[in-house]
């Protein structure tokens, strides 16, 4: 197991290098630049030149990359060209909002999705199955910004149970977490159902039935445990996505998370901010994948043995 984990961690290093090159290149390939966005009536060419030199934008892209990468290794992600603050400070400011939303949403996805998946698999092709899968389909396909606005209208405007937007309180976390969580729950429910039905058709389950073990015990203790392996993978991969991918929900609910920071940075072509945010999100995805791999290996000895 340890050898497996060390190998996975070592593999992350070249991936990190490649990801950093891709991020830097993508950001600079997009047309437009941050300095044009800052120039307003009356500002002089001299000021424009001063800004260009300050942020090394006059240097070739590979040189700019090396400067950024070298500073990054020293823990310096640069200063925001627009907001004038250190990028690391901005990331630390926005990260907790994304983490709290992301982790709560994942918990909702897991609990709701697995429950729906179990109900569905246990009642294959019956009314409960069709109902649960309809709800799951609804969760997967409905656009999150629309669902968010509907939830605001019902629970914040009409019923007044939750605030419309904001980020400081636990109550303000509920509606955005449910909005993001429902999307994930639909996916988890569908994967859980398929996986459980697949496991249920295996010989050892038939044997357990033949031995006279209770239906519920077989379902929860044997089928579900084996069926959860792909669910873990999905949730692991979703950690990174939820951190940065909840941008529309962050915008609708006015949460200053990483997704919103990234989009605003992109809009303004604030290169250091976009690079910093994308790097952090990429690391989130890498970490999520790593965790999923480890859990997968822990849950399924065949994976572990294969690598050892």
């Amino acid at each position: 197991m340890w050898r497996f984990m060390v190998r996975r961690v070592l593999l992350l290093i070249p991936i990190f290098g490649v990801v950093s090159v891709i991020i830097f290149s993508l950001v600079h390939i997009v047309p437009g630049n941050p300095i044009d966005n800052l120039m307003g009536p009356g500002m002089t060419k001299a000021h424009e030149q001063q800004l260009i030199e300050k942020y090394h934008l006059d240097k070739p892209i590979p040189v700019q990359y090396l400067i950024w990468f070298k500073n990054m290794l020293h823990g310096d992600l640069g200063r925001s060209i627009v907001e004038k603050r250190p990028v690391s400070e901005l990331l630390m400011h926005h990260l907790p909002y994304s983490l709290s939303l992301g982790l709560t949403a994942i918990a909702i996805s897991f609990v709701l999705g697995v429950s729906m998946g179990i109900v569905s698999a246990a009642n294959k092709n019956r009314l409960w199955d069709h109902s649960a899968m309809l709800v799951a389909l609804f969760g997967v396909t409905i656009p999150s910004f629309w669902l968010g606005l509907i939830l605001i209208l019902i629970f914040a405007v009409w019923l007044g149970w939750f605030p419309v937007s904001g980020s400081g309180t636990l109550m303000s976390l509920v509606l955005p977490a449910v909005t993001v969580g429902l999307g994930g729950a639909g996916l988890v429910a569908r994967v859980t159902r398929v996986s459980m039905l697949e496991v249920a058709s295996k010989d050892f389950i038939v044997l357990l039935h033949a031995k006279g073990l209770g239906k519920t015990a077989i379902l929860l203790r044997h089928i579900l445990r084996n069926a959860l392996i792909p669910v873990i993978t999905i949730l692991g991969l979703r950690i990174g996505w939820v951190l940065g991918g909840a941008v529309t929900v962050e915008i609708v609910f006015g949460r200053p998370g990483l997704g919103q920071m990234l989009i605003t940075g992109l809009y303004r072509r604030d290169y250091p901010v976009v690079q910093g945010a994308m790097l952090l999100l990429a690391m989130g995805i890498m970490l999520g994948t790593f965790l999923a791999d480890v859990l997968y290996a822990y849950a399924d000895p065949r994976v572990r043995d294969q690598h050892d």
Partner: protein, 524 residues
Amino acid sequence: MRKTVGGLLLVILAAVCVLMPASAMAEKVLYAAGDPNELGVTTFNPIKVELNHEAMSLIYDKLIEWGLDGNYYPGLAASWTISDDGLIWKMKLKEGVTFHDGTPFNAEVAKWFLKEMETGPSAYMVGAIDHVDIDGPYAITMVLKHPEPNMLFNLSQTFMAVPSMEAYKKYGEDFGTKYVVGSGPYMFESWSPGDKLVLVKNPNYTWGPGFVKNKGPAIIDKVVYLDVKEESTRFLELKTGKLDVVFALPTMFIDKVEQDKNLRVVRLPGDQLYHMVMNTQSPPLDNLLVRKGIALAVDQVSITKNVFANAGKPAFTYLIDSLPESKVAEKDMIRYDPEGAKAALEEAGWKVGPDGIRVDKDGNRLSLKMLAKNESSYRRVAEVVQAQLAAVGVDAQITLLDPSTIRAHLKNGEHQLAVRSYEWENADILEWFLNSTRMGYPNAAFWHDNESDYLMQKAMTRSRSQQERIDNFKVYHTYLLNQYVWAPIYLPDTIFGVSKRLVVPEGGQDRRFLGMGVLDYDLK
């Protein structure tokens, strides 16, 4: 015994009420929100800032204030006189003004500030000043290199707000982000980017500008600006009472706000102008007659009514209509005239083809590339203009892009038409957009014309008085209108959604609504 205890409790309660600070008893907090991109961002350092935040006008004082009536009022400058040749400006400064860090405002600070402004992006605002002399602890003389009638306007802008000299020097690069020290009616308390900015009342403030009745301190204890990106969410927050003011209320919510008994709409004259830029170096737009045909085909009244629900006025010139330089002769205004448009295009050699789109003698179709921002108002304007151009035989192909990408396209001249807007309250905006030294961006019209540059230089640098500047700009503006470099479209009002909880006195002169006028506001 019970009576004694009850009496004692009453006495204690009364004592607590008397001793408790008024703010703790009923703190008055005003909540405002707008699109973070429109509210402005970056730093609260007025000397180094490129994109200003609305709150700058509450944290800082300016030397001069500009009222809604177009008059200039005393700010930190109590009075001023200008010599006949326009070169000597004598200013008496207000006494007893202190910054939020307790340091005083005086002639030494004013002199340092006017010099320090030269190091920032708004250096041009003090470009005409040769040097500043200190005449006394609260008196300065600005000696100008050349007459600058625009100096009053410059001194009244938030880009020329005065920071604490001591704090500015002490905090260096952190001034404006972590440390914000002005002398305004509100003090910086905290700023959480993307979330909120909290300002707290300056209890020592007693030097409000000329146009407010209450010279200070402010009645409202705190002003909180919330960053809420989604316009529907902003509207719902206003409706549920969490917000008191919404900046730039979208036209689709105006009716809903007007119908709500707890809300109202406040309209101020706008400082924005929608227009369509024509690339004058891209054939066939290098032909004046083609540009004229296109400009006359744009029905500004219809766009104002159908796209913007009459929440503003149609534009017939290149300047916002509150500026005297916009008052050109009627014959020089660009008004919708479909017959005139067709005649100009015919005269230019473009005849109507079999499918209704015009063709030249070689059979080339009159098809043009149009760029617009991928935001609903620009998209809708572009679509309506496209239909209006089609009605006179011009085919416009729309491409929607984000603002940064549009600028890159404009720089490279990869456009023929572009639906744009600007927000500016001075005629010098014409110089910014149409100066031949700034081709591509901001001069997206690629306008290069010697006569135009001459008239521009004359208006910008050779005007000795305010009136002469107005006259010179009118000549320059008229010339540009007759060259049809842009098609003017629409002048939106500046619209705020406001809770009736906020008590705003009639006849206020605050141009920003939440500027210095807040000194006179109260919350029910």
